[in-house]
Subunit: 239 residues, 2 copies
Amino acid sequence: MTVARTARDRARQEITAEILAAGRAQLHRTGPSELSLRAVARDVGMVSSAVYRYFASRDELLTALIIAAYDELGAAAEAADEAVEDRTDHLARWQATCRATREWSVAHPHDYALIYGSPVPGYAAPQDTVMPATRVIVRLVEIIVGAHASGHTSGAAAPPAGAVDPSPVVADAMAFIAEHSDISLEALPELVMRTLMAWSTIFGTLSFELFGHLKGSVSDYESYFEQTTLRLAGDLGLA
Amino acid sequence: MTVARTARDRARQEITAEILAAGRAQLHRTGPSELSLRAVARDVGMVSSAVYRYFASRDELLTALIIAAYDELGAAAEAADEAVEDRTDHLARWQATCRATREWSVAHPHDYALIYGSPVPGYAAPQDTVMPATRVIVRLVEIIVGAHASGHTSGAAAPPAGAVDPSPVVADAMAFIAEHSDISLEALPELVMRTLMAWSTIFGTLSFELFGHLKGSVSDYESYFEQTTLRLAGDLGLA
DNA sequence: TGTACATCAGTGAACGCGCGTTCACTGATGTAC
DNA sequence: TGTACATCAGTGAACGCGCGTTCACTGATGTAC
């Protein structure tokens, strides 16, 4: 966000935002792959070719929408964590972050589908989407690592008999976590494994809820999610 | 599948299958919402209006493709379970079923996206898709319930402090499981909760893998999945 | 401060394209007597 | 077994529609002197 200097700059920022908002609104009616530049232009009140002054192509508009969605979700999750006063209550922070993730997702199911649903055919996400996409999991990792570093933990669930050392499989994730922490490398592999599992469970649960797969199995999605993340916290030693 | 009596019936069955195959092939190139009846007709070698002799509308074709995908996945999972000779080795059956689920999904990522990805906008799945959709989870439940009924189990992971009785939340799923089993109702709620979680984790993990969210975190998807389902089995008391 | 020029936003027409669905039709296959 | 009629598969033209992108253009805004 650079400061707008001239009237032209200001107008450009405003209209860019209007186009994004119109694109987003359109995702509520259709899927991302049918996102129509012409329809967006109509909604904003300009001719279709004018949109090309702001976005070089339909894909670029899609990228901007994806980044905006990731950033909004990430900001919501981070804010929820930061609202927990007792910073040493890692379980409360975990639950708050998970809860905010669900709340944003339920409130914006189409934006959720845009980032966690099926990939758009023919569209390859550029590098700019990578960082915004990591905000939620980075925050969750910070909470877990913080808990283990401060000793406020009962240790991750033990691997069952027959489990192999997951180190080689999750090496990339471990490198990432090791960078963010100073906890014992001995306990790390299993903790990283469980963290990845918890992450998959959280978004798997949200996808199931939003895409209709829990119909007939779960009656109260909010409580179910709350109970799920609580058990995940237990498996991660945060209880 | 009724037996074809006349040449006309036989031709009808064959061409219906050809249309489905062409539709499926087209999903490899585009998403389900852009599935084009005209393109399917072209691939089959007929004029677009002729397809209406077989499917009343595009949505009906989509429904047939969805049911076919669920059935194929379900059959693959069931076959893998049934191939385990020692029927009392519930852990082996669990792992085999999970493995087959992943193998089918990785081999057919577009069919996977059709059934577990974003819902197609404007399309409402009719009742016919419900039963085929349950085949994998029903089989998983049978394995879990079988293990607990025969006592070959160490009990599900205990709920962490602060967890409430999940009975009301998962009542619908419990009713379903109670129908399939005669295991103690006392242990059931927590087991059902963990079963739903495991189910969400399995498909959450597959969605993450297939939709690109594990890039940069996991290096070997197959091992990662294997280790994940092994831990889920442990949490369910199958270890 | 005023003028000349450069930059930029937005227009409107056009390009070539594909879509789902309807309709009247031809010709082959199946059925009842 | 043969004929008359009904059923059905597939054709080809047409309907009205929307799409992404390009292009030459007008007129407003910004900048350098």
